[in-house]
Structure formats: structure tokens, C-alpha cells
Subunit: 233 residues, 2 copies
């Protein structure tokens, strides 16, 4: 195991960082576990370029060794309210898990994790962190534990490093936590949530307070018994 061989060096990890609440907390968890953090963000034609600006600040605050921003052409593929000109739904019933919402971006986590895998292989890192959550999630299939397990198996079969028995691990520290638990954990780890961005449909610097992401976030802060430092309209 390379971690044992290099006891004096912190092991490297690639952290998928969107600039949202979950990925920012995930980065704090990776740091608290002693990883040297390589943050990876994507410019994917998302309507919210301010997400990327927040991600840059968050990576810097967390002392990341590097923050790589890659362009991916998801807007040319289309099919989502987050990349197309489709209206973001408001006031949706979040308990309805049968329906996959229009904010779902086809195969997004697969594409993001694939890039993280490539970078981890080049960095000689075994660990990838992603802030997926299967409890208070929006009904996205690519946030489920079964998906993460299947991705890990595929990753180890499809890479030079996986083939050489340096097994990749996809770390999902938040996967079984409620939003309230995630926020409590973040406070324990001194996460500055004022820098995080969640809203799918903000007006300038103000979050809408009504889209799935805002509803989940507000409920999470209420459950955690703390005040959300982000401003709402």
C-alpha cells in the first residue's frame, strides 16, 4: 500500500468541488483525514458561473495543493434545466423520489468521476472524494451507493493504476447523512458556509429560496439548529 510506504508524506486525494454545501463539507472531511487535497471543478456550461468563483475561494481557504478547472461540453449534449434554457422548478415535493427532476444532468457524476479518475491516475492518488448524498438528495440516480460501487469496480478495471493493484477508492463521506447532519459536521470542521453556493436560480448574489437546492439547504440549516449565512431574496 502506497500510504504505508510513504508514511511521512500525506496521501493525495482528488476532491470534486462544485462550490456547493456538500462538496465543500466533503473537502473539509478529506482534509481532516490527513489527505493532501487536489480540487477538481468543471466549467460545463452551467448557468451559474458564480459557482466556479466560489469554488476557487473555497479551494484556497482549504489550502488545496492545486485547483484544476476543466472544461466539459455538457451544454452541447443538453437535456437539463441546469445546462439548457429550461425553467428551474420551484416548490417541488422533495419527498417524491419516484420522479427524477429536470435539473438532473445526464450522466453528470459519471463524467465528473471519470475526469477525477484520470487525474488521480496521473497524480498517483488512490482516493477520490465526492459529496454525493442518498438521503436528502434530489432523486438523482448517480448519487446512489450502488452507482458508486459500480463506478469503483469499473475504474479499477479500466486504468493502468487499478490494473497494477493500486486500487482506487471513491470516498463518499456524506452519502448516508441528512442535510442537517452534514451541516453540523461542517460546523465542527470550521467550514465557512457563507462562501458556498447552492441555489439553482439565483438573482445576483441572492438565493431564490424556492428551488430544490434552496429548500434542501434551508431545511438542513433548520434541522442543524444554525443560521444559514447565505442571503435569500
Amino acid at each position: 500500500m502506497s500510504r504505508q510506504q510513504n508514511e511521512k508524506l500525506a496521501p493525495k486525494a482528488v476532491i470534486l468541488l462544485s462550490g456547493g454545501l456538500d462538496s465543500t463539507t466533503t473537502l473539509a472531511v478529506a482534509r481532516s483525514q490527513g489527505f493532501e487535497c487536489y480540487c477538481l471543478s468543471f466549467n460545463y456550461g452551467q448557468r451559474l458561473q458564480q459557482e466556479l468563483e466560489k469554488a476557487k475561494i473555497i479551494a484556497k481557504l482549504a489550502g488545496a495543493s492545486r485547483h484544476l478547472i476543466l472544461n466539459v461540453d455538457l451544454n452541447k449534449i443538453g437535456g437539463s434545466a441546469l445546462t439548457d434554457n429550461i425553467e428551474v422548478p420551484k416548490g417541488r415535493d422533495l419527498d417524491n423520489h419516484d420522479e427524477i427532476p429536470i435539473t438532473y444532468v445526464p450522466a453528470r457524476n459519471t463524467i465528473f468521476l471519470s475526469h477525477a479518475l484520470a487525474w488521480a491516475e496521473v497524480l498517483e492518488a488512490n482516493d477520490i472524494f465526492i459529496g454525493v448524498n442518498a438521503v436528502d438528495y434530489s432523486g438523482y440516480p448517480d448519487c446512489r451507493p450502488e452507482f458508486i460501487k459500480a463506478f469503483t469496480k469499473m475504474a479499477n478495471l479500466g486504468t493502468k493504476r487499478g490494473d497494477a493493484d493500486q486500487q482506487f477508492k471513491i470516498n463518499t463521506p456524506l452519502i448516508s447523512m441528512t442535510k442537517g447532519e452534514i451541516i453540523k459536521l461542517g460546523f465542527e470542521l470550521d467550514v465557512d458556509y457563507s462562501q458556498t453556493h447552492s441555489c439553482y436560480d439565483p438573482a445576483g448574489q441572492l438565493a431564490c429560496g424556492k428551488c430544490d437546492a434552496c429548500l434542501l439547504r434551508l431545511q438542513g440549516f433548520a434541522d442543524a439548529g444554525v443560521t444559514d449565512p447565505v442571503k435569500y431574496k
Copy 2:
């Protein structure tokens, strides 16, 4: 099954098309099986931009319904002779399958297939075609049947369409064929190999004849008993 519901419409398929011999033959196979073909190529900072020009011609000649070229930032990730300024090896022993060559691009097929999956989901296509080959291959782990099987499982767990029981299939018609058999099949399907590009290190329009890709191609044409229409230096 959507194919049965739409008997009069040809089923759609996404075809990964590099402009090389294998992907061009794969496209011909998909056409011969009655698929409406949506070709997908990538601009990934590869040193050989002429590959993409060839791919455009090949998609047009094959009557593809659409040819989408996506940008991916593999050159920012690095780690390969095909994306970095690393010398392409010449005259390598192709029977040495223990060594993964420096032309291996980390997680490339995972990244390419992930984009194909996203597009297939938007197009409502169940089929993806990729020209991987596990016989006369260059020793890349992401060309093996086990990798394709693991990718398929992951794809069906991580997408809305897979979740809705419209199972994705990754078609690999060439996976157990020798290069000679692939070329024979291509001739039967009227593939114009003069438009295909294989060389990793061409001089202008001339192939080098010495890199892994040229050596495999030349041996394949010799085995098939036909003349390679491409010019070598």
C-alpha cells in the same frame, strides 16, 4: 422495449468515432445492423488534429444523422505521449502485453464512454458502439471485455434511462477480432480505408510506419491480404 414500439423507425445509436481504422469499421457495422448513427468525436488536445478532420469526412460518407465534436480537457490532466510532449515510442514489441505503453491516455475510454452515455440518454438511444479490441490491442486496460461489462453496469445504475429499465448496451463488435479480420470485415462493408488515420506520429499526410498503431495496421493489412491505401514515409 423501445425498438419494438418503434418498428418503423431505425433505432438510434451513438458511435464513438476517432477517425481511425477500428472506429470507422465499427460505424460501418452499426450501419449494417440498421442503426441510425450519431457519431461522437473528441477534441482532447491530441497532437493529431488531422484525426478530427478525417472523422468529419468519415461521418459524412457514412450518412451519419449527426456528428458531434466535444471538447475535453485531457491535455490539462496530462500523463500520455498522445496529449503531452512525450516522445512516441517506435518499433516496440507488440507481443509484450505486460507493459502498458506511454501512449495510454489515463481513463480515456471511461471519459469518452461517459460522454457517449450522456448523449445516448438525451437522444433516447439504448446503444453505444465503441471500436475497442482486446486481441491486437496495445495493452490498454480500458479495451478489455471486463471493463466494458463493468462500465455497462455502472451506466445503467447511474442514469435516468437505465433506472427506467431502458437498459444501455455498449456494443463492441470488434472486441475479439484480429486486425486482419477487422480489415476483411471493413472491405465487405465497403469501408474506404484511405480516409482513416492510425499513425501516432505522422509527418504531414504520411504515416510513420513505426509506431504501435502503424505496426498493428500494417500487419493487419498483410494478414487480410489487401493493400493499405494510406501513404507511408
